[in-house]
Symmetry: C2
Subunit: 351 residues, 2 copies
């Protein structure tokens, strides 16, 4: 199959700028590898609220459902962040999209680039050779549990709920990935306090028997937040619930030297979505300084997912080529740097 329908959701802040570079890349890949990508654009987030009142218009959802993959930019706007009373919020668009498409597993690979190691706040010997794959559960937990705010503002609550069915698919996926890698899986939880964490522990213990070659261990989330910095090389595959995954994976981005490099894939039964792990970075919007690499590497994950491995490999090589030649944005090199679009073009040209 050579024809693919890609839903493109640029979103807020720097989203449109980085997505533009990803599309540039996909156009070149189509040409070089003789594929055809049909792009269908959809509104989401603050952008969608301003234009339609709805952070996830029905039309956008339809485009995504009918796609072979969704390419997503970024979401969020300070107008909403600073107003705790806003009823409609950009993030609801992304959360609803994840839920509607059943994107239960968010996969975040982390590695270091030798030419960037000294950019990390961590010492070289701590991070050199670190290679971690984080599996974050993405459609349950406290993000999606019942929420309530008393109209008088006297109290509020959020419910974190997990069922066996929520946990099983992502746990299996993480075990399978560990089998392909170094055979070590760490479940991050707070099982000394939370019932939901104990359910995670119980289920992972149970299914561990189906993966006798994988060593399963457990770590409390507070300790994990520390261990990720003290000794990231102790980790191979990590699996965790939604909120802990959010925190831990952003934290772990420091290992790679810049959050501007980190892609993610969100996988469901029928659909898949690819997005950088960074946010909408509104302060940088329109300045041409945003790093397009996280989005471009998300495209590489998308190509893998579409079984276009040759193109994915070529793309990753081209990204590494740019990084090694210091053809990068200001976040990676404050002395000599290039614009978002220059970096995108440099990578595209190399393909």
């Amino acid at each position: 199959d050579k024809y693919f329908k890609i839903a493109v959701l640029p979103g807020d802040g720097i989203g449109p700028e980085i997505i533009k570079e990803s599309i540039k890349i996909l156009d070149v890949i189509a040409e070089v590898f003789q594929y055809e990508f049909k792009f269908e654009y959809g509104l989401i987030g603050a952008e969608a609220i301003f234009k339609t009142g709805d952070p996830l218009p029905e039309e956008t959802l339809k485009i995504c459902r009918n796609s072979d993959a969704v390419l997503f930019g970024a979401i969020g706007d300070p107008v909403f962040d600073n107003n705790p009373e806003a009823k409609v919020r950009p993030e609801q668009g992304l959360l609803k999209l994840r839920k509607e498409l059943g994107l239960f597993a968010n996969i975040r690979p982390l590695k270091t680039y030798s030419s960037l190691i000294d950019k990390s706040p961590l010492k070289r010997e701590i991070i050199e050779g670190a290679d971690i794959q984080i599996f974050r559960e993405l459609v349950s937990g406290i993000y999606f549990g019942e929420k309530f705010t008393d109209p008088e503002g006297a109290y509020a609550y959020d419910v974190c709920k997990y069922s066996r069915e929520d946990i099983l698919p992502i746990a299996h996926m993480a075990f399978q990935e560990a089998q392909k890698r170094n055979k070590k899986l760490t479940l991050i939880d707070k099982a000394n306090v939370l019932d939901t964490s104990r359910l995670w522990r119980k289920i992972c213990q149970e299914i561990a028997q189906e993966y006798p070659d994988v060593h399963l261990d457990y770590m409390f989330v507070d300790n994990a937040a520390m261990q990720l910095i003290l000794n990231p090389k102790q980790f191979d595959v990590i699996v965790t619930e939604n909120m802990f995954g959010d925190i831990i994976s952003d934290e772990a981005s420091v290992i790679g030297g810049s959050i501007g490099l980190l892609p993610s894939a969100s996988i469901g039964e029928k659909n898949a979505l690819f997005e950088p792990i960074h946010g909408s970075y509104p302060q940088a919007k329109g300045k041409g300084i945003a790093n397009p690499i996280a989005s471009i590497l998300s495209v590489a994950m998308m190509l893998d997912h579409l079984n276009l491995e040759a193109a994915a490999d070529k793309l990753r090589q081209s990204v590494e080529h740019a990084i090694e030649n210091k053809y990068v944005t200001i976040d990676l090199n404050t002395k000599q740097y290039y614009s978002t679009s220059e970096v995108g073009s440099f990578i595209a040209d190399h393909i």
Copy 2:
């Protein structure tokens, strides 16, 4: 007042070993400064479960209620961690104690020691001069909300609930501390997703007007987990809910070079408890290698709380003297190191 009743709860793992050193210190302080400390010991945690079946026996609670301060060691035992089905757990003892005594604010100061800066996994220029005070809400949120596990193990939930009354006291306390320091307060939350976080934001916004000299800002917890490592010097005082505070403060311990150095104070209307932020570290139990400094610095916070500032200052100087002279445990110097009890005695002798 020269007479103080101190409840002493050594707890599990290395708890008893480090507490022994803290008592050694208090004995010397009593002598030098002419105070009288009356120590009353209580059982808690796994130790208490093994002996009485109850992680917080009534007797222990009584001792604590009648004390001027509680000195706490550590809690937790792998026997329970690896058994998700256990109904009675050591941690319940500490959580119940915090709740019963109304210890709503857990205060964790973080600083760097010049002679230890190179021990940190972070680069010197990132951490040198960092000085952060974390205020963690300690008796509400998901730790104390309703919990449920379906008897068949099909699902579980934990409720995170906050009321205005839960948030106000700690928020005021954090603002007041910011006034005494660099006048910057950061609320860490996930207000783009959680109702409880939006309540925190709303209340902090409201009371900010009473502290016009303090600059209040907000940070999402995922971003904060990253920023703490990228640029810890941007923080002055942090205030946050229970679970985020647990994660963030353990993570931030890497800034100081070792979790073995970090004390905490848990403050309520009537009572106060002082404990190291590290855990029970069962692998080290009985080996004489545990670092007693976090507990000893918790004693310094206790002395401050009892308005014995001169003794507290003297104690802190003595700790710094030990660190500067590299009279430390193996976690801080693997080449030349001293036992738990040697370090305790060295500090005591200096007082």
